[in-house]
Amino acid sequence: MPATRPPIAAPELESLRPALLRFALLQLRDQALAEDVVQDTLIAVLEKPDSFAGHASLRTYVTAILKYKIIDALRAGKRIRQLDTGDEQADAELIDVLFTAAGHVRDAPQAWADPAATLQQQDFFRVLEICLEKLPAKTARIFMMREWLELETDEICKELAISPSNAWVMLYRARLHLRACLDLNWFGQQSASR
């Protein structure tokens, strides 16, 4: 290990805790389990400071570890409390308003201005996070499993005890919700301010 490796300061690590907890909650939707996973993450980082190469920011590094801790928790079969199905109605309504009876889009989506530049802006990720928090709980959870934890459909199905076609529909709804939220809160504001 190079001697120049920056040490990890415990207070700095501790300052990340609230943000990590919010992120874990997005996926786990269970306060106690989220706290456990975040605690495990912080301990893992402190126990193996040498693994932090110092090339990424500490925050990026710790979040990557959190991600694997969440996957571990899911694979260990730590059941998350069952979520109610009250979201179904809202999801179906969302799809209804998007299309005419003949299946055509009612309002064509406006192309997003320079998405590549957007993805380089920290503020965009703040908006993305807020939009994720606004998703119906069940929808957010499956979406995070697929897009953030990058699990394949079959693993998601096993974990949630749902069929593949069910998973695909839920992911579709999640993307519709998220697209609409980003459109309204990020891209819409951009074009409005121009």
């Binding site: 998007l98 997003w112 990720f125 897009e147």
Partner: protein, 69 residues
């Protein structure tokens, strides 16, 4: 099976991110996209969202800017 509707193509645009589409589905989608701006835009936006999620750079806080390059 007639010409696929926007509703069907929106759904296929999402499902292609989760499973391989069949050849028929691919062809139907491609034919529709050639003629439909709205679905092309939607399809592109899904790609942006995937890229954003996969590149989600840690958690964003107000102090984020200060400690990132």
């Amino acid at each position: 099976m007639g010409i696929p509707t926007c509703k069907e193509v929106h759904r296929l645009a999402s499902e292609q991110l989760d499973r391989p589409l069949s050849l028929t589905e691919k062809l139907r989608m491609r034919a529709h996209l050639l003629a439909c701006d709205a679905c092309r835009t939607f399809n592109a936006q899904l790609a942006v969202m995937r890229k954003a999620m996969r590149g989600l750079p840690a958690i964003n806080d107000t102090e984020k800017k200060a400690d990132e390059l």
